[in-house]
């Protein structure tokens, strides 16, 4: 628990201190995660984060949209989202970590593109495309378990595809998101 005064023969001698940095992170690293906050809205997604260096990382996700939908704030008054049968979601992100820590740990900024395709039993299907900018902090307490807190702002393009007429309806909205992802650092 406590420090040991390793014998320090003489400060005048040049000591090789490389050994004290033996935990230097090797890249790429791989982190897998899930997002319980998204699950509230019926999006069961798995995330993979690949760190290409001390600062840059790419993250992707693939998920299924469960046959229920607890509306996000912007969709509370949208009655078109009542008969969800399921769907798929995917996303792609780029992250830039701060210089202070080595990725995948520490503060980061990110940009994300996310798409969710909902199948409904009504007369249309819904296609949401989100463009997000945000910030977050990823903890790795034991160099294994990860907790990733994030928030972001962005825009959503909503597209309704009508099955019978093949017509589409477009809409847009600003989105704000906040959440936490938990997972494991594999490599």
């Amino acid at each position: 628990m406590m420090s040991f005064l390793a014998t320090l023969p003489a400060f005048a001698q040049e000591e090789d201190i490389s050994g004290y940095f033996s935990d230097a992170q090797k890249y790429p690293t791989l982190v897998i995660k899930c997002d319980p906050v998204l699950l509230i809205h019926g999006d069961l997604a798995g995330f993979v984060e690949v760190n290409l260096g001390q600062r840059i990382a790419l993250e992707g996700s693939l998920g299924i949209l469960l046959p229920y939908y607890l509306p996000e704030l912007i969709d509370i008054f949208d009655d078109k989202l009542t008969n969800i049968k399921g769907g798929v979601s995917y996303s792609a992100s780029a992250r830039l970590y701060s210089k202070k820590r080595k990725a995948p740990e520490g503060f980061y900024g990110f940009t994300t593109f996310r798409q969710r395709k909902y199948l409904t039993d009504g007369e249309y299907n819904l296609n949401n495309k989100d463009f997000i900018l945000g910030w977050g902090y990823q903890f790795i307490p034991q160099n294994f378990v990860t907790a990733d807190l994030y928030y972001g702002i962005g825009g959503r393009v909503k597209k309704f595809n009508y099955n019978d007429t093949r017509e589409t309806d477009m809409g847009g909205a600003a989105i704000f998101l906040i959440g936490v992802r938990i997972g494991f650092k594999i490599i």
Binding site: S3, F11, F107
Partner: protein, 520 residues
């Protein structure tokens, strides 16, 4: 043409006089006004020598981590070099810990947590104090075995009064049920290790708090800790639930002692130690009958650093006459104690006498809830920071109290952390103590006992108050803050040699350094 020349001479004379201000007890020479980086402030004025001033600036960040900036000012206090500190070893980033000036050299200390070894290492590197280029290689100086990145212990230091010795304290990671452990390392002024010691105290981590530590000119180490008996609570059934522990290491760590300090039913509210010239250790502070937030009187005692034996213990409660300087006679007669005084320092004199200096400091939080006509409510919280009177208690060499004095001061501010409040104190060989603090100009001329006016920000003056060897004080205006449109921050002032201190004034992004000389 002649008129123009006369005007120019007059103007330059005014400009010169504006940069040098004088009072009865000292004068200050100001450097030029400098515009600093946004969201930044002076963190530490590390040192000053013939070549200039070396300082550390803190810069906050909206996102991410704050930054530390190393600064070099020439002898006229012009900013010459400003460098963001970035300590790395082969692309591995170190966490900056502190900067130290010793024997004319500037050293930066940084730590690195090795997650595999679960060890936190402390390294140092000499830096060119003017160009801010690293000199030589980085060296490891100590290490603590850690629990995790978030519980990895800490590295702290103290410098001896004559600046010839440095003590480093490596506090181990907190482990509730494990015994309190730390290591002590004494270095000379060139960072050469003189001695080191591993210490394990017979108290659990959860019940022991290191309060303070010091090194003397001979490299001897003194530490004060607070030990709670069964749980971390000040009282148990109205009785003190703690005692203080004074640990000393002398003669290169070969002679050690541990003294347990208790005042029976009284609560010790503050305790500090200082070495005497005869080799014993003077230990003094305040005590209370009621708890740890008020004080009833002061105590002094000697500790034998070889045996830990306590001798010549003296307790004396404040007399009614002294208490009435702070409260009504009625309250003083009822036995009311002084509220929230923190012991800041013990000044030791060569003849064995000493003076305790304490300041009244507390924070009051006021939350108000208001209703609006629509039926909604809004809540507002205001933090009041009180930095009020200073008290000084002077002891003779036999631990008898010779005099006590109240230095009147009133600094109450809101929601600013007391940024411009508190004081800076310096003593001289004639046992004068000089206090520097921001004050309301109306307080300079009022009589003792009159109601004080609160410090009034930019309208305030820098009060240079002298407390003499008999406990009598006299105020003087050193400078008017309004003149430079800035306010002095006494908390970051620093004594750089026997009769000179560096002071710092700022307002928003503008600041100045000043050299304060005491007339002594």
């Amino acid at each position: 043409m002649k008129h123009l020349i006369v005007c120019l001479i007059c103007l330059s004379a005014i400009a010169l006089s504006a940069d040098a201000q004088t009072s009865k007890f000292g004068n200050v020479t100001w450097g030029p006004e400098i515009t600093g980086p946004s969201k930044s402030t002076m963190s530490d004025m590390i040192a000053s020598d013939d070549e200039g001033v070396y300082a550390l600036r803190y810069k906050g960040a909206l996102m991410g981590y704050p930054k530390m900036i190393l600064e070099y000012y020439d002898p006229k206090m012009n900013l010459k070099k400003s460098t963001e500190i970035n300590m790395t070893f082969k692309e591995n980033k170190l966490d900056f810990e502190y900067a130290l000036y010793s024997n004319g050299n500037l050293y930066l200390f940084g730590s690195y947590y090795n997650s595999k070894a679960k060890t936190n290492y402390l390294f140092y590197q000499q830096w060119n104090k003017k160009t801010h280029a690293p000199i030589g290689s980085m060296k490891k100086i100590s290490e603590t075995v850690s629990k995790s990145r978030y519980n990895r212990g800490s590295f702290e230091y103290d410098i001896s009064p004559d600046k010839s010795k440095i003590i480093m304290l490596d506090l181990a990671a907190f482990l509730r049920e494990d015994s309190e452990k730390f290591s002590v390392r004494a270095l000379d002024e060139n960072m050469i290790e003189l001695w080191s010691k591993e210490v394990s105290l017979p108290y659990t981590d959860k019940l022991f708090r290191v309060q303070n530590f010091w090194v003397d000119n001979d490299g001897n180490f003194y530490m004060v800790g607070k030990h709670y008996f069964d749980k971390v609570a000040e009282k148990k059934k109205g009785e003190p639930n703690f005692n203080y522990v004074v640990v000393t290491y002398k003669n290169e760590g070969t002679v050690e002692s541990k003294a347990t300090i208790s005042l029976g039913d009284y609560f010790i509210t503050d305790l500090q130690v200082a070495p005497r010239t005869d080799g014993s250790v003077f230990c003094a502070g305040f005590y209370s009958e009621k708890g740890t937030r008020t004080i009833k009187g002061s105590y002094g005692m000697n500790i034998n650093p070889e045996t830990g034996a306590v001798s010549n213990k003296q307790l004396k409660e404040f007399e009614k006459e002294f208490l009435t300087l702070f409260m009504s006679e009625k309250k003083a007669e009822k036995g009311k104690e002084l509220f929230e005084f923190d012991l800041d320092d013990i000044v030791m004199y060569e003849d064995g006498s000493s003076t305790l200096i304490a300041e009244q400091y507390y924070v009051k939080v006021v939350t108000t809830t208001t209703s609006n006509p629509q039926g909604g409510t809004s809540t507002r919280t205001t933090y009041y920071y009180y930095y009020n009177d200073i008290i000084a208690v002077h002891y003779d060499a036999n631990n008898n109290i010779v005099w006590k004095s109240k230095v009147p001061k009133r600094q109450v501010t809101t929601n600013d952390g007391g940024y411009f409040s508190s004081y800076f104190a310096v003593t001289d060989k004639d046992k004068n103590i000089y206090f520097v603090f921001n004050d309301n100009p109306k307080n300079i001329t009022i009589k003792e006992g009159d109601k004080l006016f609160n410090y009034n920000r930019k309208e305030s003056v820098i009060n240079l108050l002298r407390l003499d060897a008999n406990g009598e004080w006299e105020k003087s205006i050193l400078a008017k803050n309004k003149e430079f449109d800035m306010i002095t921050r006494p908390k970051v002032a620093k004594l750089v040699n026997e009769n000179e201190a560096l002071i710092y004034s700022e307002w928003r992004k503008s600041y100045r350094l000043g050299k304060l000389s005491f007339k002594g």
